[in-house]
């Protein structure tokens, strides 16, 4: 079992995120009490501490808040923080894009089907 699978198994509160994402649905955790979305997803709202949180479909749209190109990796890749249309900023990768095209402020969209290990799909983005 991979360490990532082990990590997911430790977090029953976010199990649905991963199964939904694997089927092409990107969901965010929202709070019914304060009506805000947050990241990373939690059972208890980090803004108002309410336990009244739920999954809601997300647009999958965002803009690049910051990024870097990991150039010394065996396969160089782009890591980024993306600010989602719903508000929260999340860490991710920018895939399928020329590194030179990546810039802060550029619009991005979620890229489904990015499997890494143990059949786990990661929420990554590409330039829109």
């Amino acid at each position: 079992m991979s360490v990532l699978r082990e990590a997911l198994d430790h977090q029953p509160e976010t199990k649905a995120f991963w199964s939904e994402l694997a089927e092409g649905r990107f969901k965010l955790r929202h709070c019914r009490a304060c009506e805000r979305a947050h990241w990373y997803p939690r059972a208890i709202c980090p803004h108002c501490a309410s336990p009244e949180t739920e999954w809601r479909p997300a647009s999958g749209q965002g803009t690049i808040y910051s990024y870097s190109i990991a150039r010394t990796a065996a396969q160089p890749f782009a890591i980024a923080y993306v600010t989602l249309a719903e508000g929260p900023t999340m860490m991710t990768n920018i895939v399928g894009s020329d590194f030179a095209e990546i810039a802060i402020g550029k619009p991005v969209e979620i890229a489904f089907g990015h499997q890494v290990e143990d059949g786990i799909t990661l929420p990554v983005f590409r330039l829109a």
Partner: protein, 389 residues
Amino acid sequence: MSINGQAYIVGAYEHPLRKAPDKSLAQLHAEVALGALADAGLSKDDVDGYFCGGDVPGTGPFSMVDYLNLKVRHADSTNIGGASYILHVNHAAQAIAAGKCDVALVTLAGRPRSEGVPKGGLKRADSPVQPDYAWETPFGMTILNVYAMCAMRHMHEFGTTPEQLAWVKVAASHHAQHNPNAMLRDLVTVDDVLNSTLVADPLHKLDCCIVSDGGGAVIVTRPEIARQLKRPLVKIRGAGEAVKHTAGGAIDLTYSAGRFSGAAAFAEAGLTPADVKYASVYDSFTITVIVQLEDLGFCAKGEGGRFVADGNLIAGVGRLPVNTDGGGLCNNHPFNRGGITKIIEAVRQLRGEAHPAVQVANCDIALAHGTGGMLGTRHGGATLIMERE
């Protein structure tokens, strides 16, 4: 309760080695502990409080207290990464003021160089039990690329340039040339930094700290004991600590926990940044120094790049001498944690025991500040302000 004037740093010792393949981790901790005690004129049997971070072997203080055969009535193993030891001096002063111990020992040691811990791409020592693990680690996050994202955002918002980042390394190298124990003693130029390998945009190889073996220790005690010893008196004036994180997705990469720890320390000390003659500022990467100098109030937010340029951090040249031992960028960064060396060089400056080429004239107030953990996700900040009495 304020710690202002309640405790003194009476012993400080930095291990001379930067590579220690033939010494155990416990041995390194013991050697720096005994070095700091000898510097203070105290013995191990005077120690009744022990403070350590996540670098000790075993669980919290147990193994090292046993190895050294100490008899302690107070122990604290708060771990905020490389900034832990600066926080420990704060906690030691609090414990002393509360009567919980009289002579506090703080140690840091490690041998990542001998153990072959990978450089640059170093992964966090994270556990899959952490709630944040699955939302960061799978994206290939390393210490390097997270700090790089902070630098990228700083450049975007404030116009900070790679040349300005490079000046932090240039200043460190100017200081390290005078430190016979420094791991890197060659002078480097801005062009040398910009021409070094681009490792994670916008950071080059020479924007990154070194990986070294070794360690350091300090001794903190109460005023009555400090005055009986023969060392120059280094009084603790104020301290602060804070934790910054991703705030439920409302993360802002342009500032650090130092914004809060620094303000708390200055308030307790009754001082302002203009009073500080020398500053030890954690330099895991060049960007770390720029962000922290802003957060501590040495310049306005966004002005850090311009502040560090043109040698402004070089002793005898600039307005604010920083890391006159060569810092983590050139001198020493044992266990990938530099906090203890920040205190030690500040103590040297206050005592007038820094290398003559980098000694700050009339150095009466010094600051030591650290960021431990990940600047771009969650980290601890600790600030310590000291005065030569």
